[in-house]
Symmetry: C2
Subunit: 947 residues, 2 copies
């Protein structure tokens, strides 16, 4: 831990003057001056900050375990245990040496195994970023990002105290940068942010204009400077300058300083270094420049680096600069899409591995439910009739899944399998917690069955049982209505709610292995559950409910959707409350993925890159074969476009959203053409080339075709260059209509034509795109030997623009935190509690319960969030007051006492924000006052960024 | 330095019993028991000795500097400075860890740069072998090997004392093993010897018979056990067992001992280890087995090895073996040739790079002269009119040239160039010493000119000067007569000896750039010089002395050689003293090198491997175009066989040897055929498939076609499998005739037909032979863009077998230690001393002055040697007595005082041996008593092997 002097990240303060003489500057390097955390700098010289670092992917070409141990070095030479061993050894040898470390997932393991032999670092090792992983920015949901940052930062805080506090965020590898990430980093209290990847045109302009340091105002809603973040663009990605890589993986010449040698090269090395530093200083404003001395999985043998760095510093400092006037520009937009050259847009990974992306999102919902029930069930959750367990495995699995080669879909197939295995393993552990907790809360220790395959309509229990009950747990802080569809083999069932009242239900022919499907709507209270019992009434075939001909429309009290009788496609959508109607045609298309054989560029589409061969996608079918089904519970139109594309358009009785359940795959590649499948919504909305996408599931940013807000774009890829990440929603609008699409996972999309919105659903590619993964994105498995089939939902809402958020905000949260269904066979014990809520009342509509989880043995972490963005809702963007009195709003469970929690009334500010439990936020006026049991002030005042 | 317990090398003592139960033995590994040098072993268990080691070639694919610093890692990843840094770091971390280090050339450098930060090793680091390099065994001369061993061992002794004493010789990589090396190692006091490469048939038999530990009786001459050496054959070359390589260069799975991991593999690793150890114990006699845990340039990041070895030992020792009865077989022959499979004989490198091999041999002569004159000139040698300098550079250059990828010719071309550069650089330094010394000894500081290109008849001084003098320094301990041939442009010269007496000389047309060549014979006293003055008498063309027709014979008082008038080839050789005559035909041939396209084997000829496509070589020409020249000084017949093969057959007036000066190259490869050129001597000698070659220039071994003395050979390569290294001589004989060929460098050769002896002279190959060097042996350079031209001499003597050694022993020493000519332009100062000898008298014929060199400031190293092998000479194989009284035999120079030397009379034993100065030998009866000034007893009693 340092002496409080300015770290390299803060290079913009003061009134340093521009250097006058550029011919042969002299240098101070940061490693030689003092043994405190920061070396002395010289205001009138060019200060070259050499930053020894490694970037250790938490899974990519190898699994996270393989990376940690250095297994499967035949795939990639990388062993993190050895990196940390070696770096720490080398730091201990020389107090002038420094190192930064980023990925706490690895550091945590290493510390656990090695700590006893470790001595004080005395400021030599600095943590930067410090999350469990370096999360992806395009395909992650903010709630999971916050969780993974919390895991890493908490470990550092508890292990090293203020000395371990990361001061800068460091996202050197993700493939483009989300504004919401910058906003979160600013709110977490980081001093600055460094990254390396941005559009090559943007970068070139910035180099020319010396505009590589900027102030990122990362929120429309938060009062500055709450979301302001100083941001620095690194000079060379995150690599060392050419010729100065002294890792074991590099071949650059070492410094050979024995004058007896034929190969003595000190003069050559120093001259080359001075030339590079001098050149670099020409593209930065200040007289402080940074050189990242390291790269992916480097420093496994740190001695090679340090021995040569020590010599470099020694010899460079044996030679002689000036100040600068700094004026940092402001940035309001994000850094998507990222292109490293004219035909190389990294917009494919927004959609890559759609099944993994969905499983990650669903696992987040599982984890939040597990966390909540771990708290609500009290000590019984961890130790009860179903065993001893906790949410730790699932937390770690989710944390590593945020990595920019995990949920991003840019890892190798075996690594993707490993991430999925980890999530499944995590969920196995959580099921013990959930079963224990539900047993405690319901008073019944009857065995609970988890039907994880309901998405493909498989559940042995419901398919075979005459009588069973369904527990519906709702992780949201307000009541939820949810359609339940269960595979069954009977023809008629009685469904009773928790009060014993019959519930309207339907049985119809099933698409899965079971003969039939039972449908009914359930309701569950805030942060609680309700239990439904289901009894078989009759066997035999279901009533013939499908009508082979497509009806002209399906409709409930909120919405009406019409179909073109000739094509079977959707033709219009109306909101019956607001009495608005738009023309809406929806169909499926595929782009032919470039195979790299093009005169323009040899870039193929791959896991990272989206590069269609032509800007005109092929239509899969101009018409759809349809069937329809209309019951009191749901109205459906089933559409078949081809053997590998089908869809169910569905309208539940109580829903304000039209559901499009798409099934795509296996994509045929017998024609040797890689395919990128989209669905496109073509409407009468006059969107003028403008559309909107969310950033990590929180604030929404405006996008404009062939345009970047901060720089003059030369558009070279008319499709791929107009794609943006969609994490939870996208919309197009004009003055009167807004069509919002809520997604169930991260996907890529764009608006290429006026009134049109396209979303990429699935990709199957035949070539590697030469960004390192070394495999074509061609997903097959034992289950899908012919290619992966993906299924998902798009929820469409039509509203007036000024109130659209009132619908899509809660709707999107319902998709992110969906109810968990658990099943019990047979009759429940009569004393079983069938309904429970952890809240006395629902939280106000603007307030989202982001996190409720066990923190320590006697403490919980509670995060509340104002979920509306500034200006998007007349009704809800106002400040909102919540009462956290233990006896009022929150009544966690009978086993919990909130007596030591700082209860009381708190006002969430007038815009969307996080109210973070436990630790202070940047804005002193929003100091956290919400906590669980045994909250202590010491935590409130640590210097670690907010959790 | 240890506690004196038995090191792993001594596994044969005691009466351990054979293991009874082989099913699942338990183990003790040597790294866990104590912190003393040797870990405790268990007599009733299988003791697995894990030996962490690295093998660091002193040049191969990269130069020695590049290897040390880790430069040019694009060629091969290897950096010795980092290996030593890392190993020492890791040893300091755990007192149970061990490492052996071999190559002192590298350790010396590292120590010089790093020593101040080093602390005591406490026995963790053990030096084995300890020479400056791991010398080649097939192509080295024993005198240079002893020198390089001395350099390494002396450094270890002076730096670490008895603690640094290597106890075992360790030649794990050389490509076959010479008996003389084993003899030297035994005499140097090593306890044992380990190696890894031996003929695959020999090895298979030994594994089956558990005969992998043997007692090597390495001399016919020395009284046992003087040259007895316990020898162990390593189980797996020098590599770790399959699956147990934990170096950064390997991909074997690390031990993953976290039970939470999917990839937990401790049980698997332990089971595999036990299986391998158990299998290995089946092919060794004792219950001690060795596993070499390391390989080429490994341990650059030693943490990877040790972390996993520590775990291996820990987990293996958590499981349980027996004794053995040991009976070690005796071996008398050597381990040449080495074949790793049926068509893969490593016999090409005996000849590879003939020019480098000659330059190395010549440099040895230069170095001995430099060393001697450094002593004889006293303090003036190092600091005199020509500057300050010493022999250190040349010593190091020669020492690294002994490496098994240096003089062996198996390095890359750029590395061969670097070795040559080092030798040339060494010679530049030595010239200062020689000039200073000769100035001191002669009383003249006139500038001395070194004509290094006399081999191609180039010397600017003699070509242009009217008057000059020639100083002839003789490094032998007996007088020498030597033919001098100088390029000149005059037609007649007066040559006067040191006493002013005219010397018979001839001028004739030159083959070089100068018009003419001046020939005369010189004589020089023992360990001293004589000066000849040369004055131009007449310009113009030389007398027409060549006769275009070949005479039927050339003849002097000792020898007569006849030529076939039809073919121009030699037809007979007679010894006129002994009145013996043999039929002798000599011609040149080439083997077509295999290109690997063969159904039998895809092995091509290359730097290591000799594999002719056919056993019948192509004759270059059945006839030679000839010219002859006969003068009183020399008689010559010049033969032209092709544009790239020619020869001069030469008989000097006073010589007992017929000289064949061959010139071969550039070998044409336009026909895409690799060529391996031999000369073959076909005689009437009834040799019965038997011939003889020397071992490292010392003892001579009998060879028999298609036969190995110790095992049943299945001959699979009729030519290559009958090739052996010739370092200084080879001969064939019957009861009455012995034809001996003395070579000027190391070469390969064989006797394929009765009465025939062939020697490979030059090789040019078009394919790499897949043994790692990665280049075809195809030598070209700026000077030889069309391919290397090599020139050399073979000296033929014909004698009665029982007295042949009386001729070839001194003859071979004259070739090894040839006189050095230095030149001075113009008149010498009248006071110049023209003649000098460092000896009062010549040493007895049997005694060879092997070494006289400066040891410390006030001490010198003197090595005397009985140079005859047991039984080879009636006259000279008797014991011989030398008187080392300072006032008698040795009178080094007026500036030296031998007063403190232990002078007196000493008897060299009744056979060839080394009398080593300074330190004790193995045999207590031959304790060294010869020394220079200020000899002290402390040196006499160190435990370091003899220098």
């Amino acid at each position: 831990c340092g002496n409080g002097t300015t770290p390299p990240g803060q290079k913009t303060g003061g009134a340093e003057r521009m250097r006058a003489d550029r011919a042969m500057p002299t240098f101070r390097t940061p490693l030689k001056a003092t043994s405190s955390s920061c070396h002395a700098t010289m205001p009138n010289m060019l200060n070259v900050h050499l930053v020894p670092h490694t970037h250790d992917d938490v899974g990519w070409l190898k699994t996270v375990d393989q990376y940690y141990y250095g297994d499967r070095n035949d795939i990639q030479h990388a062993g993190v245990q050895y990196i940390l061993d070696s770096v720490v050894d080398q730091l201990l040898k020389n107090p002038d040496r420094r190192f930064i470390y980023v990925e706490t997932a690895f550091f945590f393991r290493w510390w656990k195994q090695t700590a006893p032999v470790l001595v004080s670092f005395s400021g030599r090792l600095e943590f930067v970023n410090g999350g469990w992983c370096m999360s992806d920015e395009a395909t992650t949901h903010y709630s999971a990002v916050i969780d993974q940052m919390t895991m890493g930062l908490r470990f550092l805080n508890e292990t090293f105290g203020p000395c371990g506090r990361p001061r800068v965020a460091w996202h050197i590898d993700p493939f483009g940068h989300a504004r919401e990430h910058a906003s979160m980093f600013a709110q977490m209290g980081y001093d600055g942010f460094f990254f390396g990847r941005l559009d090559y045109q943007d970068r070139d302009r910035r180099r020319t204009d010396k505009d590589q340091e900027l102030l990122w105002r990362a929120s429309d809603s938060l009062t500055p400077p709450m979301a302001d973040l100083f941001t620095g663009i690194l000079p060379n990605g995150y690599n060392p300058p050419d010729g100065f890589c002294w890792d074991q993986s590099c071949d650059d010449p070492p410094i050979r300083d024995d004058p007896d040698l034929e190969d003595y090269n000190v003069d050559d090395v120093v001259n080359r270094f001075l030339m590079i530093a001098s050149g670099q200083s020409l593209v930065y404003k200040t007289n402080h420049i940074i050189m990242t001395m390291g790269s992916d999985f480097q420093y496994e043998n740190a001695n090679l680096w340090y021995k040569n760095l020590d010599k470099l510093i020694h010899y460079v400092n044996a030679r002689q600069a000036n100040g600068s006037k700094v004026n940092v520009q402001m940035r309001l937009d994000d850094f998507f899409p990222y292109a490293d050259n004219a035909h190389n847009f990294w917009t494919g990974y927004f959609t890559s591995r759609p099944a993994l992306k969905r499983y990650e999102r669903l696992s987040n919902s599982y984890l939040q439910t597990c966390n909540q029930l771990e708290v609500l069930g009290g000590p019984f959750s961890g130790s009860g009739p179903f065993g001893h367990d906790d949410s730790w495995t699932m937390r770690r699995a989710m944390a590593v899944a945020q990595h920019h080669d995990a949920v991003s879909g840019t890892e190798k197939q075996h690594v993707a399998n490993d991430y999925a295995r980890r999530l499944a393993d995590g969920w196995q552990h959580c099921q013990v917690v959930v079963s224990n907790s539900l047993a405690a809360l319901s008073g019944s220790s009857a065995k609970r069955i988890y039907c994880d395959n309901l998405n493909i309509s498989v559940c042995p229990l419901t398919e075979s049982s005459h009588k069973f009950s369904v527990n519906v747990y709702n992780p949201l802080a307000r009541p939820v209505t949810w359609p339940v569809r269960l595979p069954v083999n009977g023809t008629a069932y009685t469904v009773l709610d928790a009060n014993g009242k019959p519930v309207d239900s339907q049985v119809r022919k099933n698409r899965g292995s079971a003969a039939n499907e039972l449908l009914f709507q359930v309701q569950a209270p805030p942060l609680g559950f309700s239990t439904y019992s289901v009894s078989l009434q009759r066997r035999g075939p279901p009533p013939a409910s499908t009508r082979p001909r497509t009806p002209p429309a399906i409709q409930n009290k909120f919405l009406r959707a019409t179909f073109d009788p000739d094509t079977g496609l959707l033709s219009s959508l109306s909101n019956l409350e607001t009495k608005q109607t738009i023309r809406l045609t929806q169909n499926f298309y595929w782009y032919n993925a470039s195979d790299g054989n093009s005169s323009v560029s040899n870039q193929p589409s791959g896991a990272y890159i989206f590069r269609p061969n032509s800007s005109t996608p092929f239509v899969i079918s101009r018409t759809a074969k349809t069937e329809s089904l209309q019951t009191s519970v749901v109205q459906e139109v089933r559409q078949w476009f081809s053997p590998w594309v089908s869809q169910v358009v569905r309208l539940y009785a109580d829903s304000r959203a039209l559901e499009l359940e798409w099934t795509v795959g296996p994509l045929p590649v017998d024609d040797d053409l890689g395919k990128e499948v989209i669905t496109r919504l073509d409407t009468s909305i006059d969107s003028s080339g403008i559309f909107y996408t969310d950033s990590n599931g929180r604030e929404v940013l405006q996008r404009k075709k062939d345009f970047r807000p901060t720089w003059d774009l030369e558009q070279t890829e008319p499709i791929a260059g107009n794609y943006y990440p969609i994490n939870s929603r996208a919309y197009i609008k004009d003055d009167v209509n807004q069509l919002t699409v809520v997604t169930d996972r991260s996907q890529g999309g764009g608006s290429i034509q006026n009134g049109s919105l396209e979303i990429m659903l699935h990709r199957r590619l035949l070539y590697d795109d030469v960004r390192g993964v070394g495999e074509p994105l061609n997903e097959t498995s034992d289950v899908f030997p012919e290619g992966l089939v993906a299924r998902g939902r798009l929820l469409l809402t039509l509203d007036r623009p000024q109130s659209a958020a009132d619908t899509h905000r809660p709707l999107a949260q319902e998709v992110v935190l969906q109810p968990l269904l658990t099943f019990t066979s047979g009759d429940l014990h009569p004393n079983t509690r069938l309904e429970f809520s952890g809240l006395q009342d629902a939280l106000p509509p603007a307030v989202h319960l982001l996190t409720l989880s066990q923190w320590g043995e006697d403490s919980v972490l509670l995060r509340l969030e104002h979920q509306y963005q500034s200006g998007e809702s007349k009704q809800h963007t106002q400040p909102v007051t919540v009462n956290l009195s233990d006896t009022h709003t929150l009544s966690l469970s009978s086993t919990l006492s909130l007596s030591r929690c700082r209860s009381g009334t708190h006002t969430l500010p007038a815009c969307q924000c996080l109210l973070v439990a436990w630790l202070h936020t940047v804005s002193p006026t929003v100091t956290c006052q919400v906590a669980g049991r045994s909250h202590t002030h010491t935590h409130t005042h640590t210097h670690i960024p907010n959790l």
